[in-house]
């Protein structure tokens, strides 16, 4: 890559934190470095990733409304986790997380278990107990807030 070809595709995905350092060649072919605010290929891949996360969350909200899964699935996915990962954050077995994703077991959870989840998932116990919380979330807005990406 030549220095003048260092991509300058700033899609605002970096929250103005920093530009990236790139290695590129100057006029006589020697290597030097330059800064890039972003690159189309990366930006597309990132946006698509968040887009897919949003789609999955919208589907989960429907499932929660139907009553086929518990709100835990939504909170978990919103934190980009899978049962195994959530289990290791909370410090319990994966099968217990899977059980808690079923409404029947979710509703039986005590305050102690709920607060463990709440801490790791960045929500309040009250929201977890409120059956209308997940259906009331504007998924698109929430994912946009979380990622800074238009989805």
């Amino acid at each position: 890559m030549k220095k003048e070809n260092i991509p300058k595709d700033d899609w605002g995905l970096s929250d103005n934190v920093s530009q990236e350092l790139c290695y590129a060649t100057d006029a006589d072919g020697s290597y030097t470095t330059g800064l890039s605010p972003g690159w189309e290929a990366k930006n597309i891949a990132l946006s698509q990733a968040w887009h897919d996360i949003k789609d999955a969350l919208v589907q989960t909200v429907n499932e929660v409304e139907e009553g086929s899964v518990s709100p835990l699935k939504f909170y978990m996915q919103f934190n980009l986790m899978e049962p195994f990962l959530l289990a290791s954050f909370v410090g319990i077995a994966t099968w217990r997380v899977k059980l808690h994703m079923k409404p029947m077991f979710y509703n039986k959870m005590g305050d102690k278990m709920l607060s463990k989840y709440a801490t790791e998932l960045g929500i309040s116990v009250d929201d977890m107990k409120n059956p209308n919380h997940v259906p009331s979330i504007n998924v698109e807005e929430a994912v946009k807030q979380k990622s800074g990406v238009e989805v």
Partner: protein, 333 residues
């Protein structure tokens, strides 16, 4: 207290941390030099190891290897420690800082408050240097950022104890014993020769230069096997592995090319500059690949470049890198 530590931005966190830590101890090696001596370049595709149900691809050696190899080649001793209890991990960090030692840490980026929000995934192999504490805030040199930053005690505990694959478990490290003089030439030769072995000699089709062909062969069938939508998700993740986690497939090729130029001067082997130029071309082809692939993802088909054209690029890169490393092999002899 704050240690007088010079922050230099790098393209990749692991190289950057090593390079910065060594510079603090008056060993001046550039990021590409560390990457080359540490034999960082690689290619691998793991159909059985999956992330979100999609196979993992990598364009570099496994995390931590560059560090291990580079310090070994240079004869530098490193103190490494992991801690079961966060309190002990933080106390150990404080003690090292009190002694005036800048400390490298492995962390997860999901809870990393200063990181761009769009990049906060559960990725546990990020590396930073802590070089002091002021008003209760830890002073952080994150090598992929232009400037230094700060984290509170609790923020630092959270990222040091992130969970999931490659969980850091509070890992910290710093060089303890640095030889007063280096023989850089044998280290460079060994670094190159190890990279050649990794890229040419592993008798597994998914690893080394054959890895590209392995993916290419499968990629041609993705649209038929998986359907358009699923295929574009697989391709999307492939680019993210390539470009977002770390420095990028092409990015690593450019760092390696920069290394070959430096090596050419150090070893007085002018022909390495030509090989460097060839490696640059290989990187450029990978950039083209990523760009075409991302456009396919965006428009979900309806492109003049399709999956089989993408696969052709990978096959070409495979042949190019085979030729490059076959030439480089001569150095090791």
């Amino acid at each position: 207290m704050i240690i007088d530590f010079k922050h230099n931005q790098s393209a990749h966190c692991e190289n950057g941390v090593i390079s910065n830590l060594l510079k603090h101890h008056n060993v001046h090696l550039s990021e590409p030099m560390i990457f080359g001596i540490g034999s960082g370049l690689f290619m691998g595709f793991f159909p059985f190891l999956k992330l979100n149900g999609i196979p993992i691809a990598t364009f570099r050696t496994s995390p931590g290897m560059i560090f291990q190899r580079a310090t070994k080649q240079l004869g530098i001793k490193i103190r490494k420690a992991k801690y079961r209890k966060p309190k002990r991990a933080m106390d150990a960090l404080d003690r090292a800082l009190d002694q005036g030692i800048p400390v490298g840490l492995q962390i997860g980026v999901y809870h990393l408050t200063y990181f761009p929000r769009a990049l906060r995934f559960h990725f546990n192999m990020h590396n930073i240097v802590v070089y002091g504490k002021k008003n209760g805030l830890y002073q952080i040199s994150d090598p992929v950022l232009e400037n230094t930053t700060e984290l509170s005690y609790n923020e630092l505990v959270t990222v040091r104890y992130s969970k999931g694959p490659f969980a850091p478990n509070g890992k910290m490290y710093y060089p303890t014993d640095i030889p007063s003089s280096f023989d850089i030439q044998p280290a460079i030769r060994k670094g190159i020769s190890k990279t050649c072995k990794d890229m040419l000699d592993i008798p597994v089709p998914m690893l080394g230069h054959t890895g590209y062909k392995y993916v290419a062969k499968r990629m041609r069938n993705w649209p038929d096997k998986l359907g358009e939508r699923q295929a574009s998700m697989w391709l999307g993740q492939f680019i993210r592995m390539m470009e977002e986690i770390g420095t990028g497939g092409a990015g690593f090729r450019f760092i390696f090319s920069a290394f070959l130029q430096e090596a050419s001067n150090e070893l007085n082997e002018p022909w390495l500059k030509d090989v460097s130029a060839e490696m640059t071309e290989s990187g450029d082809r990978l950039r083209e690949f990523a760009l075409h692939a991302s456009r396919i993802c965006k428009n979900r088909a309806t492109q003049d470049v399709g999956y089989s054209e993408l696969a052709d690029i990978l096959v070409e890169v495979s042949d190019r890198e085979k030729a490059i490393f076959t030439k480089l092999k001569a150095l090791g002899k």
